[in-house]
Symmetry: C2
Subunit: 148 residues, 2 copies
DNA sequence: GTTAGACTTAGAACTATTCTAAGTATTGAC
DNA sequence: GTCAATACTTAGAATAGTTCTAAGTCTAAC
């Protein structure tokens, strides 16, 4: 392998650094950059799309590192994975409780706020202990519905 | 390729035949068999698992045919696909409206009836038109919760 | 300054699924 | 009935998204 120099890590005391540290990860410029990419264009990109955008500001970053960074961000609760069927996993930096609406027409994904009552309304059978739940919706988004 | 004889299709006027016909599919012994496998063991098998079970009663069936049959069954609304993250797609012959509970401990998937009020409670932003929605839950099933 | 271990990288490997091409069965027209 | 058109099945190749591997690089702790 070529001896590619990695960018120097600068001292960084932002929220990312803290979050990484408390989960046992190190701060790296790649992780910062990938997180910045997600925060910049909040349209639920795939790893591939993150990779393409990340290369603009960091030409030598590899797809393996993008996966590694995304994984670290997910593990320290800064990013959520979003799956629709078996399509490529998408990444979402919105950590408020919300569901996803997939538009069948334009393919966009919209964050939808969840009403506070949702969990209570699920009325599970006795004995089941829910740790996490997810609601996903499909149909036509506002713009596409208006065009029809 | 070897000249493998396919089993003869017998006249069949059951519900499967009708459903297939109205969606433009032909009745075949393989489709009947795959559907029977799903109805027999209702524990949300993957295509691979359906394949393994299907071979017991039809030794020459191929995985490609299992995928083809499952696809046909999904398209004529006899079977639902169930996805958890990016794991292999699972197949569910329960066509009543329900959600899925994934047990983190034992890995089993349980069908959970949905309260009638669910959709109304989602309170979408104006203009969005929902065609389909899905609720999935994770945690501990009754048995695993009791053991802890 | 050393050293252990975390991180990055390119490319190989993996897995679930779809595609391809050849053979087989069924349907509909005659 | 025979024949052609077409749907279906099959094995194996191909694909896509992701994870693994091995080598090199960097950082933190001593």
């Amino acid at each position: 392998m070529d001896a590619v120099k990695h960018p120097k890590r600068e001292k960084h005391d932002g929220p990312l650094n803290e979050r990484l540290a408390t989960s046992g990860f190190r701060f790296t410029p790649q992780r910062q950059h990938v997180y910045d990419v997600l925060l910049g264009d909040r349209n639920h990109p795939t790893a591939e799309e993150v990779f393409i955008r990340a290369k603009k500001g960091m030409a030598d970053i590899s797809i393996a590192t993008v996966y590694n960074c995304l994984d670290a961000l997910v593990k320290c609760d800064l990013v959520k994975q979003v799956n629709l069927d078996r399509d490529a996993t998408r990444y979402c930096p919105n950590m408020t409780e919300h569901s996803h609406f997939y538009c069948d027409e334009c393919g966009d994904i919209h964050d939808i706020a969840l009403p506070a009552t949702t969990q209570a309304n699920l009325n599970l059978p006795r004995g089941f202990r829910v740790k996490q739940y997810e609601i996903s919706l499909r149909g036509l988004c506002r713009d596409c519905a208006a065009k029809q």
